[in-house]
């Protein structure tokens, strides 16, 4: 059921174990394999409201496992245009597919240049190796 460790090359990463997939002026956000593995099976996703704003480096929501709560740190700034209701209803989706069905929010970026501060998969792997 749990996914195997991977960090896809087509994503950008924030050192707080969050990823972004940039699609035009929008971005899809989620947490990395490392984050979901450290937390264990997720049982709750506290999602932001659609229409709200997220700020790079700040918390936009929370995920919880049985034992732990973790803030979701946004890798980019923008407006929330969609929340993945499938994860609200079944948070364990994140454990099964952290980069696919387990995405968390879609935003419209307000500062697209922020992507330049994010890490490549190779650089993020170094963060994970040191953790």
């Amino acid at each position: 059921m749990a996914a195997t460790e991977s960090y896809p090359d087509d994503l950008l990463y924030h050192p707080e174990h969050d990823w972004a997939r940039i699609e035009g002026d929008e971005a899809v956000l989620g947490i990395t394999w490392f984050a979901q593995d450290a937390l264990g099976e997720l049982v709750h996703y506290e999602a932001p409201d659609v229409g709200g704003t997220v700020t790079k480096g700040s918390s936009y929501g929370e995920v919880e496992s049985v034992k732990a709560v973790s803030d979701l740190i946004s890798p980019l700034s923008g407006e929330v245009i969609e929340v993945n209701q499938a994860v609200v209803d079944a948070p364990e989706t994140v454990n099964a597919d952290p980069y696919g069905d387990g995405w968390l929010i879609r935003i419209r970026m307000t500062s697209p240049d922020e992507r330049d501060d994010l890490l490549s998969a190779a650089d993020y792997r170094k963060v994970v190796d040191e953790a």
């Binding site: 264990g40 099976e41 049982v43 709750h44 506290e46 929370e62 919880e64 496992s65 049985v66 034992k67 709560v69 609200v88």
Partner: protein
């Protein structure tokens, strides 16, 4: 692994939820060797324990066990214990790991001529096998809860205790520490699922067994904590006078169980509107909702009362429910 009271303990093996469901549906084993064991022996052992512990020692015959409390002068709970009567004049106390020294010192200080208290924690290991198929998997016959007998499992001599902390049928097996590895392997070979501290906590919370240090402690008296049933107030144990007063006037705050009616998970330390506090909380693997226990003002303690829990700045609704929160489906 996590450090706990000087022990390295596994929080989980396969995963908390899978382990939890194994115990509810089949059988799981927990290494609870961190629990402390004290032996109290001698012709006045009964007198010592009757003066120290909340429950009535005279209702405990050899071969039986009893849930009891060590209370302070205010009726606050220093620890909750299982007391085994090994022989007429010999008792075994099983205490919580982090409280074993407190219990030992407290009882030792009050030791009477003709009673001897020894900490034998390092001599024993304790493995809890719990779940509806636990007896079948271990090849044990059913027996009454809160009894014990000497026995043997796959060549290891064990004290078979009909006790547990999950709300399921099962046993707690005490053996000599040197035999623990062999016993653990034998239990796993019988198809029992290894379980960690994480599942132990979610299982006990679903059936509302209090955890010392979370839900009960020296700062709350035993009546407010809902453990009056374990207090034989006429035996004159330490704190009994105070508990009698609390019982007469009614406690100002009570320990209640609740389920979240909003989607949220309560956690220890969160405040409850109107002067309450969450003492334990988790996501219930069986009920699939947030559940918890906590202290609320007595008028809010009735089942059905709505509570508002402050979940990191957001008010989330909960409802007081009768204990236990989880009921076994009739088999």
């Amino acid at each position: 692994m996590v450090a706990f009271a000087g022990w390295e303990m596994p929080v989980q093996y396969e995963g908390v939820i899978a382990e939890h469901k194994a115990v509810r549906g089949d059988a799981g084993v927990f290494d609870v060797s961190h629990m402390g064991e004290l032996e109290v022996e001698g012709p006045t052992a009964r007198d010592l324990l009757q003066a120290m512990l909340s429950n009535d020692v005279d209702r405990l015959r050899p071969g039986h066990a009893q849930y009891t409390l060590l209370t302070n002068e205010d009726g606050g709970i220093l620890d909750d214990l299982i007391l085994y009567r090994l022989e007429e004049h010999r008792f075994l106390i099983v205490a919580n790991a982090s409280n074993t020294d407190v219990v030992y010192r407290w009882v030792k200080e009050h030791e009477l001529r003709g009673s001897d208290v020894r900490d034998v924690s390092d001599e024993y290991a304790l493995l809890a096998v719990q779940g509806p198929r636990s007896l079948e998997r271990l090849g044990l016959a059913p027996a009454k809860a809160f009894t014990w007998a000497m026995g043997e499992l796959d060549g290891v001599e064990v004290m078979v205790n009909r006790t547990g902390y999950t709300g399921e049928e099962g046993v707690e097996l005490a053996c000599m520490a040197d035999d623990a590895g062999e016993l653990w392997d034998a239990i796993l070979a019988r198809g029992v699922v290894p379980c960690g501290l994480g599942a132990r906590d979610t299982l006990r919370l679903e059936v509302c067994f209090p955890l010392h240090g979370n839900d009960i402690g020296p700062q709350w008296d035993a009546i407010s904590s809902g453990l009056g049933w374990a207090c034989a107030l006429d035996t004159g144990f330490t704190g009994a006078d105070r508990l009698r007063e609390v019982k007469a006037t009614g406690p100002a705050r009570k320990l209640v169980a609740f389920v979240m009616t909003d989607r949220a998970i309560p956690r220890q330390g969160m405040s409850i509107a109107g002067g309450g506090e969450v003492t334990s909380g988790t996501m219930s693997p069986m009920l699939d909702v947030g559940i918890g226990m906590g202290y609320v003002p007595a008028p809010s303690a009735a089942p059905g009362t709505e509570l508002l829990v402050d979940v990191r700045g957001k008010e989330r609704r909960a409802e007081v429910r009768k204990k236990p929160l989880y009921h076994k489906e009739p088999s």
